[in-house]
Symmetry: C2
Subunit: 205 residues, 2 copies
C-alpha cells in the first residue's frame, strides 16, 4: 500500500523542507516525490496555480507550502495553546517568508549590476535587521520562536535556514546564536534528529 | 472608554483594508488610526519588524496583516468547517498575496525601462493566469472562494481588489465575473455593506 501522503517538489530542500520536517516529526509516512527539472514543464500544467510543493492525500491535491505546513502542524500538535499564540506563530512564519523572499530576490536576479547594488542593501541592512529581531525573539522564548516551546514556526525556520544560506552563498545565521539554538532544540526531538541525519536527495518520481 | 481594538496603518486601504472589513463584519469596535506619511519614520522604529499594519488590544501589539486577519476570522466565525477547509482558505489567501505582490512589483519599480519590460509579462501573462484560475474557483464555489459560503478569504479578496487596481492603474478584475460576484455576495452582508458605504480616509492619529 502506498503511503497516505504524497509530496511533490523538486529535488531540493527549497519550499518543501518544512513540510518534510513536519511529516517526519509526526511519524507520518509519505512519498517524497522529487521531480527532475526536465519533467517540470509537463507537471507544472497540472499543478494548482502552476506551482509546487503540493501535498496529495485522500485523493485531493493541496497547494501553498505554508498552508500545508499549518494543516500538518494541527495534525501533529505543533500549534499554539490558543488563538493568540497561533496568531503569534503565523506572524513570525510570515516574517520568515518575507525574509526568505528578500534573499531569494538576490539569488534569482539575473542582472549582475542590479544584483551587486542590491547585495549592499541586503547584506548591509536587511539581513542584520531581521537577524537582530528574530534572534531577540528566540532569546526571549528560550530557544524557540513562540511560547517557550517547540511549534511549527521553529520547523519552518529549521527547514528554511539551509535554503536561505544556499541562496545567499554564505552562512547568514552564524551571528544569531539564539536562532541556532532553535535548530539545536528542534534536533533534540528524536524524529527530527532521525530525519536530519538520514535525509537524502535521492528519491525521484 | 477607548475601543478594544486599535489598528495602525497609513491613510490608505493597502494591507489594512481586509482587517477593517473583518472588524466591521463582526461589529468589533476599533480605532482606525491612520498615520500621516510625515510621522512614519518616528513610528516605524517602534513597530515589530518595522512594519504596519499592527493591531493593538489587551495591551499588546500584533503584526503581519494576514496573521491578524486569520485571528479575527476565528473571532467572528468566518473560518472553514474543518482543518481541510481552513487549509484551502489559507492556500487561496496566499495565492492572493502572491498575486498582489506581483502587481506591487510593477507599481513600486522606480526604473521606468524595467517597469515597461515587466508590464508586458505582468499584463500579458501573469494577470490573465491568476484571474482565470481564481475566477474558475469562485465559479465552482458559487460566488465564494472556498466551501460555497462566505469566509475570510472572500474578505481578503474584497479588501485587496481596490489596492491592486490602484497599483496596476487599471481595473484588473473587469473580466472576472465570478470574482466580482464574490465582492457582491460579501456586500450583501449588512455590516459589510454599511462599512463599504461609509468608509472614509478621514481618521488620523
Amino acid at each position: 500500500m502506498s503511503p497516505p501522503y504524497k509530496l511533490t517538489y523538486f529535488d531540493i530542500m527549497g519550499l518543501a523542507e518544512p513540510i518534510r520536517l513536519l511529516l517526519s516529526y509526526g511519524n507520518l509516512e509519505f512519498e517524497d516525490c522529487r521531480v527532475p527539472r526536465e519533467s517540470w514543464p509537463n507537471i507544472k500544467a497540472n499543478m494548482p496555480f502552476g506551482q509546487v510543493p503540493v501535498l496529495e492525500f485522500n485523493g485531493k491535491v493541496y497547494h501553498q507550502s505554508i498552508a500545508i505546513s499549518r494543516y500538518l502542524a494541527k495534525q501533529v500538535k505543533l500549534v499554539g495553546k490558543d488563538d493568540i499564540e497561533d496568531m503569534e506563530i503565523d506572524a513570525i512564519v510570515d516574517v520568515l517568508m518575507d525574509f526568505r523572499s528578500k534573499v531569494a530576490k538576490y539569488h534569482y536576479d539575473g542582472d549582475e549590476a542590479a544584483k551587486e547594488a542590491y547585495a549592499k542593501t541586503l547584506f548591509g541592512e536587511i539581513v542584520p535587521f531581521y537577524l537582530e529581531k528574530l534572534d531577540k525573539q528566540a532569546k526571549e522564548n528560550g530557544g524557540y520562536l513562540v511560547g517557550g516551546k517547540l511549534t511549527w514556526a521553529d520547523l519552518i525556520l529549521v527547514g528554511t535556514i539551509d535554503y536561505m544560506n544556499f541562496m545567499a552563498k554564505k552562512d547568514l545565521f552564524a551571528g544569531a546564536p539564539n536562532l541556532i539554538k532553535v535548530k539545536e532544540n528542534a534536533a533534540l526531538v528524536p524524529t527530527i534528529q532521525k530525519y536530519l541525519e538520514t535525509r537524502s536527495n535521492n528519491h525521484r518520481c
